[in-house]
């Protein structure tokens, strides 16, 4: 098998150049999809028979929640790659992911809370999803805190990578344990718009938003990754050409 592509991805100048080229594609396609999704979700989709227009929060809440989990998984994967194959670029990517994931976790929590008030009558509830989102936020903060606390970049990379990988075991455990706990309590019903029950006019904009946000993450990651690479590759020759270009 030809693995040169994998080895090339370990080379900072190659990744830097690739990131620079790819960013506009991710950015513009993200913008298009998000705008289309917004129009579809806010204007075209009919009001929900139960929640009226209030359900439209889903078009920002679901993508935010999806981002919070997807970014963490990407971060943990990148960290694992960096740890196993000792690839610095992978560690740089993991570092770049964290603030993005944390910010969308906050967005998910706030939008979820705003959705909860009219629907459940309370801004907060120790519902399985909300609680595991909150835990996820602490995982991100712990990751960023650990990175900030260790001065040596290489050691910070590897320590936070261990944390990210250990944390990923935690995510399904937390989610399921809270579900079991609540099911034993017979908790109030969790609000769910089952995807299969959603008519296409509601579902399609949602999918567009999900994809759009994912591509947005790609664009932001590529920009942050370039910044990380530049900061780490302090004395390398290739930077001269890359910046001059």
């Amino acid at each position: 098998m030809n693995f040169t592509w994998f080895h090339r991805l370990g080379s900072p100048p190659y990744v830097y150049a690739l990131a620079e080229r790819l960013t506009p594609w991710f950015a513009w396609s993200a913008a298009l999809l998000i705008l289309a999704g917004l129009y579809g979700g806010l204007v075209l989709a009919p009001p929900d028979y139960q929640q009226g227009d209030g359900f439209r929060i889903i078009y920002v809440h679901a993508p935010s929640a999806w981002m919070s989990l997807m970014v963490y998984t990407s971060m943990a994967l990148a960290a694992a790659v960096g740890l196993i194959w000792r690839i610095k670029v992978a560690h740089a990517a993991a570092a770049a992911c964290a603030p993005v994931g944390a910010s969308f976790t906050v967005a998910a929590l706030v939008t979820g809370s705003l959705w909860g008030q009219p629907m459940w009558g309370t801004y907060w509830q120790w519902d399985p999803r909300l609680t595991s989102e909150l835990v996820l936020l602490f995982l991100y903060l712990g990751y960023m805190g650990l990175r900030a606390g260790i001065e040596d970049t290489q050691r910070a990379d590897r320590a936070s990578a261990v944390l990210a990988v250990v944390g990923i075991i935690n995510v399904p455990v937390i989610h399921y344990s809270v579900t079991w706990w609540n099911s034993l309590h017979q908790a109030p019903t969790v609000m769910r718009l089952a995807k299969s029950a959603m008519p296409p006019s509601m579902l399609v904009p949602l999918l567009m938003m999900l994809l759009g946000f994912t591509l947005f993450f790609g664009a932001v990651l590529l920009v942050r990754l370039r910044a990380e690479i530049l900061t780490r590759e302090r004395t390398s020759q290739w930077i001269r050409e890359a910046l001059g270009a």
Binding site: V43, G52, H61, A107, V223, A227
Partner: protein
């Protein structure tokens, strides 16, 4: 139009939710670009200080 803004009575919840999400999106864009600009400026300064033209 007013109906749209009113969101069936849920305006006080829907619009802040959208606002905060797009604030997060905007913040990410601004922050990431600023980081890159700073990293590039810092790299240029270092190269210049070492007497090599970027």
């Amino acid at each position: 139009m007013m109906e749209f803004l009113d969101m069936g009575g849920y305006a006080a919840f829907v619009w802040p939710a959208y606002a905060i999400t797009f604030a997060v999106i905007a913040a990410n864009i601004i922050w990431a670009r600023r980081l890159l600009r700073q990293a590039q400026a810092s790299a240029r300064r270092r190269l210049a200080a070492r007497g090599e033209q970027p």
